[in-house]
Symmetry: C2
Subunit: 247 residues, 2 copies
DNA sequence: CCGGCGAATAACGTATACACTATTCATGGC
DNA sequence: GCCATGAATAGTGTATACGTTATTCGCCGG
């Protein structure tokens, strides 16, 4: 990513919301392999929230020495995925409902700004077509009741839009917060009702973008996120009601 | 900071926009001392933009071994203050006008969200009084033509407001971006005209906060930042016109 | 039986050592 | 004279070693 950050995130990836993956990290330095490997395990639940490991144990797990593992964990801690408590271990952070709310509050603010920037820059024909195509597919998935696939495409949609904003720092921070809400977001996929409202709102957003109407785009995105975030928090509350109070 | 980040930023500091300082870092671990020391030197210009040093040289400069210095530089690179180019050195980042624009675009989006949150939470009497007091002093400084002091209080004002938002992650990210624009902001202080318009806008913001009017607060903050950022970029462009094209 | 004090231990923070590789400089060929 | 090729070099990435200190466990006293 041509971002201000140093450590390569994923080579040649210009989009926020990179779905967890280990593609193409084989020849990266050990520190970056450790970072991506751990991030992947955390986001996919292979390292469950609450899991606590010592530096030495993590190093053994990854077959590395403590040095690159330390550097990776510092980065992951900065990004909010783990908590480092010296002599108590490195813990995969679990999130309370309030944590998720805070994360979404930042995420949505950033995404709104991204959409404003896209509207200001204008939408190229190819990008517009791509979004229209995506929305068609999302609507078909909705009718077919395939919420899981819809959810993936929803990520893709917002990621694609944000990716057009032209502000790498914004994308970088967006990606950081997106990572933080990835697990809770996945948790509630099976609970989602048919996202007909989201589909409508997506159309409104793209229309505003195509028209280059910054204010309309801001409003559409803001309302979309406000409603979607409220729904996500509600579903998460239900989900957390049976079980622990953390995700 | 009771933030998601691991490395102590400044012990017991609950505000964003911590003015560069080395208070109370004496007994922190070497890695954190290195981080704060370098950050301080960069923000205050003691390490000028473009300065390039090798890991070994930095370690010697700080009288530490490479390990804690490396960990500090990784963090500073993540925060956008330095660029690490292996075998070419660690360079204090200099910013183009476009960089500053990108930074301000993120910063203002975050600050707008912070203000919305404050409005939603409501303004305690003590905080309201404090802001009123600050605004009085800023207006007196304006009349007295003491722009430098006004600028400091302006930081204080926005920092205080943001600090009331109740979202530590937001504050953390806000602080990161605030650091990035600190130097360019300082550069143009001597060029600023009397900030009478800002003073008026501050009153509007606080009124909306006191009324708990989220939408009015958002609008007031948005307009304030849009105008102030535009002014800052204009002044910076002038400033950069005579000299290099980077800050 | 519980609580506090102290020694043992082990985890971490930092320093250092080592090996790899990118860069540079010099030499030789074109 | 310039470019390319190779060896020298030095900076970094990683491993490891070491010292400090927080935590834990056991023992003793209350």
């Amino acid at each position: 990513m041509a971002s201000p950050r140093s450590g390569a995130t994923r080579p040649g990836d210009r989009r926020a919301r990179s779905r967890p993956s280990l593609q193409g990290i084989a020849d990266l330095p050990a520190r970056d392999r450790a970072y991506h490997d751990l991030r992947y395990r955390i986001l996919t639940g292979r390292l469950a929230p609450g899991t606590t490991l010592l530096e030495t144990e993590l190093a053994a797990l990854l077959s590395l020495s403590r040095t690159p593992v330390r550097e990776a964990t510092i980065r992951l801690a900065e990004e909010g995925l783990i908590a480092i408590r010296p002599r108590h271990g490195i813990t995969v952070r679990s999130l309370t409902l309030n944590d998720v709310r805070d994360i979404l509050d930042v995420l949505s603010a950033l995404e709104i700004r991204a959409v404003e920037l896209v509207a200001r820059r204008g939408l190229a024909r190819a990008d517009h077509d791509r979004l229209l195509h995506l929305m068609d597919r999302m609507e078909r998935a909705t009718e077919a009741g395939d919420i899981a696939q819809w959810s993936e495409m929803d990520d893709d949609f917002h990621s694609t839009v944000a990716g057009l904003c032209g502000n790498d720092r914004l994308l970088s921070t967006l990606d950081e917060y997106w990572s933080q809400q990835y697990r809770p977001r996945m948790m509630i996929v099976p609970l989602r009702p048919k996202p007909t409202q989201s589909n409508i709102e997506h159309r409104r957003i793209v229309e505003a973008l195509a028209a280059g109407d910054v204010e309309a785009a801001r409003l559409a995105q803001q309302q979309h996120r406000a409603r979607a975030d409220r729904q996500q928090l509600d579903l998460l509350r239900d989900r957390l009601a049976d079980g622990a109070d953390r995700a």
